[in-house]
């Protein structure tokens, strides 16, 4: 009896705790990410999770919240990376501008790809985005003089810069983490704004029932295109930050495996939830890091974990927590 009461009390506490997190999602993610590098084995992994978490969140905007499964989002990660890299390497741009160029370039790429793809539905949409993603891959692969082709683009160097007169050492991994976190937090704030905006509601309406959304007076095609562009821009930012982090843009940034990773991360963490994709990215990359220390077949292990979740917890890690504690996602 006493045990039961204690359990109920704990559950109630958990519920209010998670509700608090869900209500102040930007603040909660900022606080968590601020201490994140100290619970990770090393900073580079934390940075990688930060970048791919953002990539998966941008992807989830389209996939989880509007129900469009794109298999071409590697294109935006890659475009962001390459344009930022090219800006720095070939044009000597300040890195801030180079990030801007990467984001805008990815948004334009999203506009073109979205325009061509949103006419199709379901599996055809996925296939068209996959094909267009591959086209982007080959364009960058062939433009060797600009992109370095197979070898990737080398020499994306950012060493030291000044912020308000204070020198910032970008080569210090912890400092680099916080610089990148600054941009990630802005993007997380933007995603949170989008989700609680009128457009956010229309996105979910379209995911739930396109016919009804159109009958309510919403231009489904235009809304899809707008969200596609927003999603591409956020994934482009993730790409830009990755170029700064790695100091090189590998050609695999554009590989369709990256698109697949975004899908897996979203599903593992919980598609259509705010934190889900980030959690999915963290679990996958952490597992990869741990498993590679004793076998190179880390993909098999990650694959098994993924299958376990898809079979037994189809709502993903965060999605399962929310539904078990009966927390309504709508509580804004």
């Amino acid at each position: 009896m006493v045990k039961q009461e204690r359990w109920a009390k704990a559950l109630k506490f958990m519920k209010s705790f998670f509700q608090l997190i869900a209500r102040h999602r930007v603040l909660a993610s900022t606080l968590f990410l601020a201490i994140f590098p100290f619970i990770m084995p090393y900073e580079a992994l934390a940075i990688n999770i930060l970048i791919f978490g953002l990539f998966a969140m941008g992807f989830n905007l389209l996939f989880g919240y509007m129900g469009l499964l794109s298999f071409g989002h590697a294109a935006f990660l890659g475009i962001g990376s390459y344009l930022t890299g090219i800006g720095i390497v070939h044009y000597g741009m300040p890195w801030g501008y180079a990030i801007l160029v990467g984001v805008i370039g990815a948004a334009i790429g999203g506009l073109i790809m979205g325009y061509l793809a949103i006419r199709t539905r379901g599996i055809y949409f996925s296939m068209v985005t996959l094909a267009l993603g591959q086209i982007v891959y080959y364009i960058f692969y062939k433009a060797e003089s600009l992109t370095g082709g197979e070898n990737g683009l080398r020499g994306v160097r950012v060493d030291e810069f000044n912020v308000l007169g204070m020198p910032v050492d970008f080569l210090n991994p912890l400092v680099k983490y916080y610089v990148i976190l600054f941009f990630v937090v802005i993007a997380i704030w933007l995603i949170s704004r989008i989700l609680s905006s009128p457009l956010g509601a229309v996105m979910e309406a379209i995911r739930e029932n396109e016919k009804r959304a159109a009958a309510c007076g919403f231009d489904v095609a235009r809304t899809k295109l707008l969200v596609f562009v927003l999603s591409a821009a956020i994934c482009g930012l993730a790409g830009s930050l990755r170029a700064l982090h790695l100091s090189i843009v590998p050609i695999d940034s554009l590989h369709y495996l990256q698109s697949g990773q975004a899908v897996m991360m979203s599903i593992l963490g919980g598609m259509g939830t705010f934190f889900g994709p980030f959690i999915g990215a963290a679990v996958m990359l952490y597992l990869e890091d741990v498993v590679t220390t004793f076998t190179k077949h880390w993909m098999a292990v990650v694959g098994l974990v993924f299958m376990f979740f898809v079979l037994f917890f189809p709502k993903g890690i965060w999605g399962t927590i929310l539904s078990k504690l009966q927390i309504n996602q709508d509580s804004k």
Binding site: A205, N209, A215, D219, N328
Partner: protein, 251 residues
């Protein structure tokens, strides 16, 4: 009478619709006056649903014209129909199942105020919230406000869809078999709702159950094999020999 009341709110001129070789609708012409409640009936396969879909903008006719307040709107897209004031509910319930009941109507009501804004908080627009509260009260769903729509009973979901259709305050409301799948009690409530709706705007409904509409509307249009068969008051239709033959099976 002034001209405003003599122009039909909706008019179909020689409307035909084919699906491949199948002619679902052939040369149907009719018009609907503002403020009236009209039912479209016909046996299975009569082309009622096709006609409904053409009138409500789900797809354009293969030939012929649709006029709204005298203006040609043939070929307009579904969302444009909603924006000029033609709203509808579907035969098979179409609602946003994973959203809350209130959210369903609020999104629908947001069409006029904000469609693409992605930086402002949706809760900062008072109008759609008020409209949603009011409409939920009207269709007796306010006590289920924060429930997930998927958890509602069938009849409640249908009532919710009517509230959503009303959210853009349409001049013309089209309802496709609004009582389909409802219990007798739910049907009575729905009929009463339609009666009050018809007192404030033009309503066109497609109905299968002849008995229901006899006491409800003043004008009935009968389709048969995709063609216009007859129109008139419920009494006229009941006494029309042709209609009795094809529809009531009492020839």
């Amino acid at each position: 009478m002034n001209s405003a009341t003599t122009t039909p709110i909706l008019e179909a001129r020689h409307v035909s619709k084919s699906f491949g070789k199948f002619k679902a609708l052939q040369d149907v012409s009719t018009s609907f006056m503002p403020g009236t409640l009209t039912a479209i009936i016909g046996p299975n396969g009569a082309g009622k649903s096709t006609f409904f879909n053409v009138l409500s903008g789900a797809f354009p006719p293969s030939s012929g014209q649709i006029l709204f307040n005298g203006k040609d709107i043939t070929g307009m897209q579904q969302h444009e129909f909603a924006r000029i004031g033609i709203s509808k509910s579907f035969q098979i319930t179409n609602v946003f199942k994973q959203l809350s009941v209130h959210e369903n109507v609020r999104v629908a009501a947001q069409m006029e105020t904000a469609r693409y804004n992605f930086l402002r908080n949706a809760q900062s627009y008072p109008k759609p919230i008020e409209v949603a509260d009011e409409l939920l009260h009207r269709v007796n769903l306010e006590h289920l406000r924060n429930k997930k729509t998927a958890d509602l009973a069938h009849g409640q979901q249908r009532a919710l869809e009517i509230a959503m259709a009303l959210a853009c305050n349409p001049a013309l409301l089209l309802l496709d078999e609004p009582t389909a799948g409802m219990s007798p009690e739910e049907t009575l409530v729905m009929m009463e709702l339609i009666r009050t709706l018809a007192s404030e705007r033009t309503v066109i409904l497609v109905e299968h159950k002849m008995k229901l509409i006899m006491g409800l509307c003043k004008r009935i249009i009968v389709l048969h094999h995709g063609e216009f068969l007859a129109e008139g008051t419920p009494e006229e239709i009941q006494n029309n020999a042709e209609v009795r033959r094809v529809y009531l099976g009492q020839g």
